[in-house]
Symmetry: D2
Subunit: 357 residues, 4 copies
């Protein structure tokens, strides 16, 4: 579809954080309009009874996610569902000509086998046979797969940790400037990444005034990061990824440690590498040497703030990257993909400046 | 001094966080009593007018830090002053027979030259000539220097980051189980580490709802950690230390990445290494494999919680360590040193269990 | 029972916040020891597998709450259960000679009818016939019912809001210094008051960075406050109670507005009224005129901080009261009652000074 | 000036929170452009060196606030300065034809005498003689003074507490539905209201995990609220105003208690009163009965959310009102006034929907 017309968007999983953010972002969008709200638990209810704080025009009723009805109402569908559900709904939508952006992990792996290893348990040992669809799906990191996304029928929006980690890392992997071994990613996320379904660990009483690691050595975003890193590096990349839970609502910081192959490279050199890649990508800002990103600067925006420092004493490069985990790390990136699919500049309608403080 | 008698303690810098914590901790102590409160800004004022929320018996008046008067009132002095002041006061106290625990960085380096490189700018280019005293001072990490602390006239309590980082790391360095090169320490601290003097970056409005790195590649605790690591490893250790500011009041987490020399070692093996060292040290708790420390578990206690995980895929060991930055990371460790100096078990009178949540 | 011997305490509902606090508080107690841990969901599990951060001697197994076994193991039982359960267990314990402190609302009303009106829906329309027991139960506000608590077989520990609101208010009602009509209580609580069972509204992502009223006009603590106010005032008291949820873990502030009958009374006069009542009660501190309580000053303590101000312009008295909702507002007050029942000074073993900041 | 052309705006006090918010809001504005940045401490510096996180086109240099230069560059000036400074700069700007919106308290009182009583001490006993100007200044509450603001040369934007308190209260005062005596306003604010200049009480370490009242009986916003209340009620209004500091960055909640003159009025009736007044004011949303506002719903927006409940038992009406203290409570309201002055709909370019959570 050309960028001229209005795009009609269905949001499935409307009352979770991913759905909610997508709806909110599209309220400010000049060319994409939400025309269908889907949800299971909230099906049949007026939107205002679910989210009184976000009034929508004509106060729509949330509907169950029936492919036929979605196809009648929308050109695009954003699926914001628990892992293992999108892979059931997406084929039916694609058949009916609806182009899909999936915010879950269902289509992030080229290989269905790998998905099964990592996610099958969570997805109730779901047996999938959509191997071909997995191969067709485009990994929705717009700064790296822009043209493919623009043409895609099915886009798998990346996870929040992969987004923040890959953006600063990929330029160096692509140019072969760092060892592909021994990379350490120490990541920190706000609690909204855990979703809206209540869990003890995400209670304010539990999570506030504390920081803790979790998913040490086994976090599933490890393989997602490595898959994309391998694709860009042209060789296997093995890395150590450790997420930490931070007492804040939103924001995600990734601190990446890698060894420079050329010990003569300076922070200025490395900043130039980043700038060369991202100069024409308004959703990524490269900070000047010595300025380190705070997640607050990226909050409520679709902007990633990246910075690089070099320690000549140790030969390490330190990459730092801050995003809003629910926007550039999820729903905003989904809209960025929709923009490309709809023939628009990727940043169309997306907030790029935070309200500080 | 034998443990029989009551020890009299002067707290200098009483209204800052370090002084305040020391006073609070000693309120619960069976054998040490605060007998002198010193401070510059608050000299001449009744304690209740400074800290109404912490009533002290007989509501003492804060006094200026005169060595003669301190010596008349106290056997021990805890100095909680900005860097560059303790090195002026300590000699006068030592001359008068007062044993000193300094919470600042003034005596943490064996070499005065190194101190000058790292701290002289902050300490207004202070010119020091107390090189001998620096060599005599004992680095007050009680689990590693217990006997020396017990005999010491002058103890330099370690910094908060070094405490949290060294406790899990030293056993592996001592036994030569890890590469001394390529160690990465990614540390996270609450804002109380910045002290009580108002700074914009530490305002709730600025620091809340955000996480950010700071002092990347140049933080001064790097050299303090390396000094102690070298002493224990018997060889130079170069490491990458990156602190982050976390939106919480207190708590400090250190995540340490190191490469195991023997790829066959398991998390269980490494846990055994930690347990063997800390079994008889009640202020360090080794967590079972798979349990990762939250800073909240250590909050308001003098306990360090350490845990280790091994990634056989990458050959990395991940050490995690949580402390309360103002207690085990500062004032509590100072009291732990006082206990040893006074002939008491190190944990005497110190809180070891948090109030959760 | 005389204060001489060790008291054995069963804690039922061990892994909720009320149970957890009770256990933690008793770890520091000189004369009361936890000898039985009861819980439904966690029955059969080792304590360390539930709360690894709070190691208990010999790592006991949590047991189901069987009255016979409790009676064999304990002299006292602290019940920290959802409303509607204590009233089923308590009679069986009392029959077997176990003295009970109930932290729920089951025995807070003298009149079973009133309880039914307020709580029956929540307690699944439970039909109770223990009217007599309700009348025997003592309302466990130790500063006002000390002698009755000391003799009681069954104590109903007050709710957190009633505790914070009644402590400053009762002296003025007792002396008839304020209008019994038109009292406004605007209260603010941390989220731990909502308990440990996950609820969407208590997620950090939802509750953080926000304040909101709830339970406006209909909150059930209204009637509990009025009951006790009437008893002390000797006449009906009607008040407006509005709680608010504050983005913090613990702490509860009650701001009470009442009209002075004598417009000539000053803040100093009113402070004297409070001091006269609480002078010999170490768990209540009256602040000097012009000092207003912060909940942080009371955090992790069993101390209530109260303050009073008078506006001669409007004739209003403003009472302010800060407590830790889980200690003086729940478990600590329960232990304070146990102390009295065991013949000890009420503050025995209870923390009275916070760790600031 | 008609709404057709672009309006040029000078922001004086650019790096404080008020200035920063104004600049940020105007980035999204279709018809108003920032053309001058003024500041004292930051004069001569490039904007990017002050606020790297908010990149501005062409990275302007901050300039000292010279009236001549401001007049050359701008049609409007937003003054975001400490109290006592705007009254010195404003006359010079007005003389030169620059229309002024002042965010400070300097022109909020019709009577200079009253201002002097309340603010002179803070403003260093400044002696003012601009009594006439005070009388001309329009109190910038757009929902109540829209036409006057549209014509005004000098607008005094209301304080944050008055804005949140007056919006729900004025309709009832105007219609004479409540007693003008005995009104209680219990207000709660985030710490950004304290500004960006560092103060101990606003440190995260101090303010976090705590709530406390301040300015009890003497807060200066009392008289500001009463002035406007009297104007609308047509008679004196005396009220009790008590602010509280809440551990969050932004957000302000006002809970107002007033006695209904007609005890037969219901919450539905009172909601209708609010709706009738605010139906055509998009920056005020009246919530349905039983829905109470959370400040998070208003965060980063220029929207006030108001709700009313009635307690027939006590005869009290409870009004609740949530705003973002830096937007509808400060800079956003200033822009709303600018919109009216520039002939635009008041909500032009202003965010009305929050990013939840």
């Amino acid at each position: 579809m050309a960028g001229g017309g209005q795009g009609r968007v269905a949001v499935i999983g409307a009352s979770g954080y991913g759905g909610l953010q997508t709806i909110r972002l599209l309220q400010d969008h000049p060319s994409l309009t939400v025309t269908f709200l889907g949800g299971e638990r909230s099906a049949g209810r007026r939107w205002s009874s679910i989210c009184s704080f976000l009034p929508l025009p004509e106060d729509p009723v949330v509907q169950s996610a029936d492919a036929e009805r979605i196809a009648a109402a929308a050109d695009y569908a954003v699926l914001s569902l628990p892992n293992g559900l999108a892979c059931q709904l997406a084929p039916e939508l694609l058949q009916r000509g609806v182009r899909v952006v999936d915010l879950s992990a269902d289509f992030r792996y080229r290989s269905l086998e790998q998905w099964s290893q990592v996610y099958a348990q969570e997805a109730n040992r779901l047996s999938r046979e959509d191997s071909e669809l997995c191969q067709q799906a485009v990994y929705g990191l717009p700064e790296w797969h822009g043209p493919a996304i623009a043409e895609a029928r099915l886009v798998a929006a990346p996870g929040c940790f992969p987004t923040a980690s890959l953006l600063p890392l990929l330029p160096f992997l692509k140019q072969g400037l760092i060892d592909t071994d021994g990379i350490v990613i120490d990541a920190k996320t706000g609690t909204s990444g855990g979703g809206r379904v209540p869990k003890e660990a995400m209670l304010l009483a539990e999570a506030s005034e504390s920081i803790a690691p979790y998913g040490v050595i086994g976090h599933r975003h490890t393989s997602e990061i490595e898959q994309m890193a391998r694709e860009v590096a042209g060789q296997d990349v093995r890395l150590q990824f450790t997420p930490h839970l931070v007492p804040m609502v939103r924001g995600l910081l990734s601190t990446v440690y890698a060894r420079l192959r050329d010990p003569g490279l300076t922070a200025e050199d490395c900043t130039t590498v980043l700038e060369a890649v991202y100069r024409h990508h308004p959703c990524v800002s490269v900070l000047p040497v010595g300025t380190y990103p705070a997640t607050k600067w990226a909050r409520h925006t679709n902007r990633a703030l990246v910075s690089v420092q070099v320690d000549t004493r140790t030969g390490q490069m330190i990459l730092m990257s801050a995003i809003d985990n629910l926007i550039k790390g999820q729903a905003g990136q989904g809209v960025q993909c929709l923009n490309l699919m709809h023939g628009l500049p990727p940043e169309t309608g997306l907030p790029l400046q935070s309200f500080y403080p």
